[in-house]
Structure formats: structure tokens, C-alpha cells
Symmetry: C2
Subunit: 518 residues, 2 copies
């Protein structure tokens, strides 16, 4: 039985994860790391082809060359999202080779990876450490995985690799364009996805790195988002992904009147808080509400001739329009969500590639996240102390990844525009099912029934004192929602077994997920 | 007395350098490194300003914050070449702070740093490890430095830092443009120098990194050639360098009839050897002969409608012309030698920044140098076995740095176009004063009296068998030169004291420099 202790936010968390010691969350900014970054093995050019041609015929051959054996850690990345063919091909090859008990360390997994369940059943994969969207998360929640899942934010994943907390034996990088030396880029080719930033840590720190492409070009492949000097082998596949599922042709703004109201109130809040001014910066995701928020903001900026210094993506056609219309000087992009984002990244020198290292790594010398004037994020639940959940539903099932969510909380103003209930289940709760973000970092909740400002942000409360916006205590909004929904959300029936640990951005354990059902 | 042993090229070399064990050269590609790359200390964003502003008022304050103390290693870089103000300012501040016995680890030093001699006399600087051009090299050769100098190639310097052979306590990076977060670029600003690649290793591996700029811009400074996430502090100075001395307004082709002949023969040799074909690549430096060679090559390419895939800089207006005229798809640039190079790097997406990591690091998974079809380099001496010297003169004085010279020898065809004598002293000798490059890697010597092909390159000898070019045995050319000069070059009178070690690209010691005079 896993030993559990109470951490600084009052959550019972394991002190050991898959046989490795784990440190309970100590409070925001409290845990100070020691020691030195992990060092990848020193290699010699004498062991690599002088003509730079590192191609091998198949993934299977590459895995054999890499010395694949039982119990190793293999990493993949989610740039190809739900259209990825590469991770499946890698583990199919591993299964053919007869290896067992692999740790799969994806930056995220998607429904297209549902076949991995069979490989977990057959013992090829021991467990997954990485965000799980959909069926794999459900499988995990039901207690089926042999090992404990570990969920990390984008920045937390970089931190874990950098610090040597996760040692990657073999990194496999799906590359929409690559040369035989291993230089690779995601911004062009039939399966273009934009950038490859989630694979940066892996390329730098893994013992062995394999690039897989369906679009081999003569050296040099530019831009070398992944540097061939970090790559051991290059494999050419017919196709690395389903272009239709890698990126949406268009990202859609919300049509729901409630969501539109929330988006508009969020934009108005930013305005009244004095955030929308020349040279400001913001980050909003690609969800319907966040996109709509960005459009309200855009109209406001146009009207008043205000120009942002930078906006952060996930980029979409809407951010690209803002860049091309001169409403922002730069897009600092972490991932591209549509084809316009990919095109802009390829063509516009103001559309900059970022990575979890530049943007999110907490164990660096600062990162970009804390420079943002405002960030707009989602949540599945928020409690009366502004603690928020982003990975589980109220029924306890782990169905979402963390993404950059935890990392973004470092911004100067973090706003969660959320509906106050979903499917008649209140989103505002007494206690979140899973605590992913400490309330002290969440400044504002915007719902269709009012805006709650975190009492810790006296400056914002003061600034908005005379606002016409419906600023209300969070408990009051929650009470109103419960009346509508016929009471508070039911507590989920959770088992004892810890199926997943949730890491904080500093590598400590902030919460865990318990088994639900069987 | 330093213990000396014979290495694989028959040179007596020290087994200990400044108290640290040193490995004698074991032959090309023979030494295999072990262990892991050096890991810089793990930091936490909690210790850096959340608003990203890392500026401090003065270099002195920054050095105090960095914990400067006796015996530390401080690194600087030569992007500002003979116009650099920063290294002098750093050591002047260190002197004011009263510290002693510092190791100065520049990527190269220039005559503008002659003032460092006083700081070596007064004990502030213990010794220099880095290329020394001119007066500092002379000072070193006279046995005046307290420690032994260590000369490394650009790639060797990266390797030494990456492998933890040289631990940098404080790296100071002169930045023609930077933001307060520490992102920095060299391609713009009043002291623009092009790129900052020589500081890459330092930014990645030093314990503490200080960026010094005279051109602070709002975040983000792009392109972030140096990443602010690796930078601890930012200092703003009035001026970081003398723009007139950082880059030549124009780089000049040779006017000497002999040099022009050598350059033309080199181009013709490349042609007859089958190197000049569609998609080929070449590298030539910014010296007069190398530039002239590039022009002869250019004319040949134009005439026959041949296009290179890439050329490597040091870039000059001539390479930029080739890029803009479509004679090459890419410039892979390691340093910019004139303002046209800087402009092109800033404006042309085909003008790519490279670094010692991508281009030269021998302890990586391959590097760009070995992909070059042909490279054209200089030398101060070449012996009958094609061993070459690039750091000392025939009188034994250490007056030149190694640059990327050793690294470039990895190309598919390495040609040294050199005059057969200089100032009536033969350049072709029985034994080089200092052996920097093993003869087995040097394929062709082109002199005004004939072309010598290394007997190891039977393929080239065969290919050029019926050439109208004056292909001759090297000993024959040497004999002719000695007749003209009235005999072989005098052996220099060398002392016993080893004043400098010359590293090979794998970190082993290939030769050393002895004291001359006093």
C-alpha cells in the first residue's frame, strides 16, 4: 500500500511513485531544488557517419540499434495530436521485439492511442507518465495500469527531464520534415504541425534520440527546431500522421450565449483592471470561450488603437490576424492549433517558436509565463478558495491533461472564465476533486452569474470597486448555482488505490487521483 | 617541472595542465569519451524576478552578486573582436574588487586586450585559456604567465565546457542587443557583430551568466541567440565596443599576384576533383586568398549554372552576394566578418546561424564540419607529412588562435592554399614548430609553385592524374623553395618551459608551445 502524507494544501499524496521517492508539495515557491542538471552521455563523432546520414530502414531496426530492453523509458510527443501514427508504430515494434514493462513517457496521449491499452494488458507497457486525454485516462482511473500514472504540466515535464527525475532511454520524435542528419522541423511538409517544442527536453537529455519523418529533405532541414546534433537515428515512414486530425482546419469561437457573455465579461474585466494598454501581453487558449475572449479584446484594441507587445499561443487564425493587422508585435507560440498558425510560423519573423524551456520551466532562471499581463484558462472545477481542477471530472475520472495550465498560473493576472455549472453539475464546489492549481495563484473567476475576485488580490478589488461588472463573492455565486442545480455536486465514490500522481511545476506532488469503479 | 610524454604524433606533451590531468593525443578518432555531460546547477524561478527584469547597475555589482572570488574562471567571447570593451571592463572591475588568480577563459583575445598583461603582472589574472592573437600570445611565449595557456579550437572549447573539463564560474556575454530578461542577439544595434554562437556553451553550462549590452530593448529581444532563461543578470553599459573595429566595413580580396594564382589553382583543383557540382558545399575563410578562391569558384558556378546547397561562413559580402544571386541556397554562418554579413543574417531566412555545437563539437552526435565537400584553410607551416601549424611562427612565437581550423579538417576535402615561403622563410618544413593538425586529415596543399596531394588520398591522385595543374610531390616543392630561400627554415631556439598546451578537438593534447626568449 502506498504511504500517503498530507501536503501543504492538505492533500494526501504518495511519498513514493513507482519505486522512486516523491516530495509532497510544500507551498508555492517553497521547494528549492539542489544539485545539477542531468547530463546526457557524452558521445563522439567517431561513432556517427561522417557524411551525416543517420537513416535506418525501420523503427524496429532503430529500436534494436538503440538497445531497447525490458523496463526502459520511451518518450513520444503530442505535436501530431489525435492524428499521430508514430507512438503506435513505436510500441507495435516494441511488442514485436518481445520487450516488456516499458514506461511510456508521452508529452500527452490522445484517443488515437487507445490501442496502447492492449499493450498494457499484454505487459509491453507497464504504465504511462504523461497527460491522458480520454480513453487512456479512463483506463487509468479504473485502476488497470500496473504502475502509477504521473501527470506533469508542460513545464513540469521539462523540469523532470532536466533535473534527471525522469531518465529517458529512447526518445522518438515525429518530424513533419527532417534531413538525414536529424535536423527536424514541424512547420512544413504534408503532416505539418507547427513546432516541436515538447520534444526539446527529450532531444537534449535522452540517452538515445530517434527522429521519424515522412518528409526527408537534403541537409540542411531548416529551421532546425530539433537539432540533428542531438539525434542518433532517422527513420522514414510513409506517413507519420493523419493531417486531418493533426490540426483543425479552423478553430471555432463559441456560439453559446452564456459562453459569449463570459468571454465578453472577461475582456471587460481586463479593460477595467487596466490591463489592456499599449505594450501589454496576454495568453488565451484555443477553446471556444478563450477564442471569443481574444476577439472581444481584439475589437477593444482596434477601437482604441492599442497594440500588444506580444501574445502567446497556442496560435490560431485569430492570433495570426492580430499579428498581420499589427495589433501585436509578436506571437510567442507554444503550439499551433490550425493551418493558419503553421503558415504564419513559417512565414512571419514575428511569429516566434517557444518551448517548455523558455516558457514554462520552473527550474530555470525565470520563464516567460510570469511575464504575461493576463492569462485566460479553463477548469473543470473551482473551489471557494479558488483552488482549481483541470484533470478530473466531478465523478473522479481522469479525462484531461494538464498542458501548460499550471505553468500559466504564474502570470500577473490569472483568469478562469468558466460556466458556473455543466450538465446540471456545479463547477463551483466546496472542495475540488483534484487540486491542480493552488487558489493563491488564481486571481479571478468569471462565470455567467458574476465575477469573483480572489480576496488576496486587494489591488484588483480596489481597482474594480466602482465597476459596473457583477463582482461578487465566490461563495455567493456558488450558493446561487447550487440552488439552480438542486444542491452541491455529489462527491464521487473514490477507491483507496492511487492511480495517478499530479505533480506541481517544481516536481513535488500536489495531489493524486484515486481509482473509480473497476 | 611538468612531466612530458610522447603522444601519437610523436610530440612531447604535458600530462598535467595547471594541476588538472591531461590526456595525450591518441590518434584521429581514437580517444573515446566516457561519462555524462556537465550539468549546470538547477535553479528555481523563485529566485529570479517574476517580472523578468534582471538588470543591475554595473558590471562590478553583477560580479559581486555572482559571488566572484579568488581563483574563479571568468569567460568572455570574441564576437566584438578587436573592438571589444567588455572583457577589459570585467577584469578592471575584478581588479577593483581585489580578487586574485582568476582564470580568463575567452573564446579568443585580441590586441585590444593587451591591458590584461598588467592584470597578469599584478596577479588579478593567473592565466589565459583561449586563443591569443598578437601581444598576449607574445607575452605567453616569453614565459610570463603564471599558469599554462591552453589553446582550443572553437569546437574544442564547446567540448571542454560540455564535458566539464572547464568549469566556468561566471560567463560574461557582450550583447549588441538584449532585453531585461537576458535574451540577446548580435545581429542588430550600434555594435552589431552578427551572431553570438561562441557564447552558447557558456550560457548553457556556466554557473552564472551575465549579459552586458548597450542596447536594451523591451522583452522579447529577438532572435534570442542567447536565451534569457540561461541568464542571471543583465548590465547596461554606454558602449560595449568600437563598431569600427568589430567588423571591417569591407573584407578585401588579395591583390598579390602569387596569392591570386594560388586561389585560382585551388578553385581549378576543386573543379577537376569533381567537387564543384550541383548541391555541393564549401567553406572558405575571410582571408585574402580564401576570399579570392570563393570568387573564382563563384565565376565558375555562374558560368556553368551550378548551385551550391550551402556554403559556410565566416560570412562576407561575397558570400552574401552568392546567396542573393541564388548561387547557394543557404549560408551556414559561424561568424560574420562584415556589415553585409550582419545585414544578410538579420534579413535573409536562408542565412542561418550556426554555433560551435552544431558545426564543430566532436563530442556530439556528428557535426556539420564533416559534411562539407571542401574546406579551404590557412597555415603558418606545413611539413612533408602534411602536418600543419596554425598558431606559432617559425620563430616559435605563439601569435595566432586556432579558431575553427582543427574542426574544419573533418571535411571531405581539406585544402591549404599557402605561399611556399613568407619573408624568405620556407612555409614547407621538415617538422612543424607546433603540430595543430595531423597530416592524415590534410588532403591538398596548393602553393604558387605547385599542388601537393596527400599520398593517402589515392582517389584524388587518380582523379587528377591527367590534370594540367602542376601536381607535384610535397618534398619536391619543398626542395625548390629551400633553394630559393637559401636553405631550410632555421629551427627556433626554444626553452624547456611549456607555456601553452594545444588541445585536439577531442580534448587530448596534441602539442605544446615552449618558451621563447624571456
Amino acid at each position: 500500500m502506498t504511504k500517503l502524507v498530507n501536503n501543504a494544501v492538505g492533500r494526501l499524496v504518495p511519498t513514493e511513485i513507482n519505486g522512486q521517492e516523491a516530495i509532497p508539495f510544500q507551498g508555492v515557491g517553497k521547494y528549492r531544488p539542489e544539485g545539477r542538471k542531468y547530463g546526457a552521455p557524452i558521445r563522439s563523432c567517431a561513432d556517427y557517419p561522417a557524411d551525416g546520414d543517420k537513416t535506418v530502414a525501420t523503427i524496429k531496426e532503430a529500436l534494436v540499434n538503440a538497445g531497447l530492453c525490458d523496463g526502459m523509458t520511451i518518450s513520444t510527443h503530442h505535436h501530431l495530436r489525435n492524428g499521430d501514427y508514430v507512438a503506435n508504430a513505436v510500441f507495435a515494434a516494441a511488442a514485436e521485439l518481445g520487450v516488456k514493462d516499458l514506461r511510456w513517457f508521452p508529452s500527452a496521449s490522445f484517443p488515437c492511442h487507445t490501442g496502447m491499452i492492449d499493450l498494457m494488458e499484454s505487459g509491453v507497457i507497464h504504465h504511462i507518465e504523461g497527460s491522458m486525454n480520454g480513453p487512456l485516462g479512463d483506463y487509468c482511473t479504473r485502476g488497470k495500469m500496473k504502475g502509477m500514472a504521473v501527470l506533469r504540466s508542460h513545464g513540469g515535464r521539462y523540469q523532470a527531464v532536466q533535473d534527471g527525475e525522469v531518465k529517458i532511454d529512447i526518445a522518438v520524435i515525429a518530424a513533419p520534415c527532417a534531413d538525414s542528419f536529424g535536423n527536424a522541423t514541424g512547420d512544413r511538409g504534408p503532416t505539418a504541425c507547427g513546432l516541436l517544442g515538447f520534444a526539446l527536453a527529450d532531444s537534449e537529455y535522452a540517452d538515445h534520440v530517434i527522429a521519424v519523418t515522412d518528409n526527408l529533405v537534403p541537409f540542411p532541414c531548416v529551421p532546425w527546431q530539433i537539432q540533428g546534433n542531438n539525434v542518433d537515428q532517422v527513420v522514414v515512414m510513409d506517413s507519420i500522421g493523419d493531417a486531418g486530425k493533426i490540426i483543425s482546419g479552423t478553430t471555432k469561437i463559441t456560439k453559446s450565449p452564456d459562453r459569449l457573455l463570459i468571454a465578453e465579461m472577461t475582456a471587460r474585466f481586463c479593460d477595467e483592471a487596466g490591463i489592456v494598454r499599449d505594450g501589454f501581453s496576454f495568453q488565451a487558449g484555443a477553446g471556444g470561450t478563450a477564442l471569443s475572449f481574444a476577439l472581444f479584446l481584439r475589437d477593444m484594441m482596434r477601437e482604441r488603437n492599442i497594440k500588444a507587445r506580444f501574445v502567446r499561443g497556442g496560435s490560431t487564425q485569430y492570433l495570426v490576424d492580430m499579428l498581420e493587422d499589427g495589433l501585436t508585435e509578436y506571437i510567442l507560440d507554444g503550439q499551433t492549433f490550425d493551418l493558419e498558425g503553421v503558415r504564419s510560423m513559417r512565414e512571419n519573423s514575428g511569429h516566434l517558436n517557444t518551448s517548455p524551456f523558455t516558457s514554462y520551466n520552473w527550474h530555470g532562471k525565470g520563464n516567460f509565463a510570469s511575464l504575461l499581463d493576463v492569462v485566460v484558462l479553463g477548469a473543470t472545477e473551482v473551489d471557494v478558495n479558488f483552488n482549481a481542477n483541470v484533470v478530473t471530472h466531478s465523478d473522479g475520472r481522469l479525462l484531461h491533461g494538464i498542458g501548460g495550465w499550471q505553468n500559466c498560473l504564474a502570470s500577473k493576472c490569472t483568469i478562469l472564465p468558466i460556466p458556473s455549472f455543466r450538465d446540471r453539475i456545479p463547477v463551483l464546489v466546496d472542495e475540488v476533486t483534484t487540486l491542480c492549481g493552488p487558489g493563491e495563484l488564481i486571481d479571478v473567476i468569471v462565470t455567467e452569474r458574476g465575477i469573483a475576485i480572489n480576496p488576496l488580490r486587494r489591488d484588483l478589488l480596489e481597482q474594480l470597486r466602482c465597476s459596473s461588472l457583477p463582482i461578487r463573492p465566490i461563495a455567493e455565486i456558488k450558493g446561487e448555482v447550487e440552488e439552480i442545480c438542486g444542491g452541491a455536486a455529489d462527491k464521487p465514490e473514490l477507491g483507496d488505490k492511487v492511480v495517478a500522481a499530479i505533480k506541481w511545476i517544481d516536481g513535488t506532488v500536489i495531489d493524486c487521483v484515486r481509482q473509480v469503479g473497476s
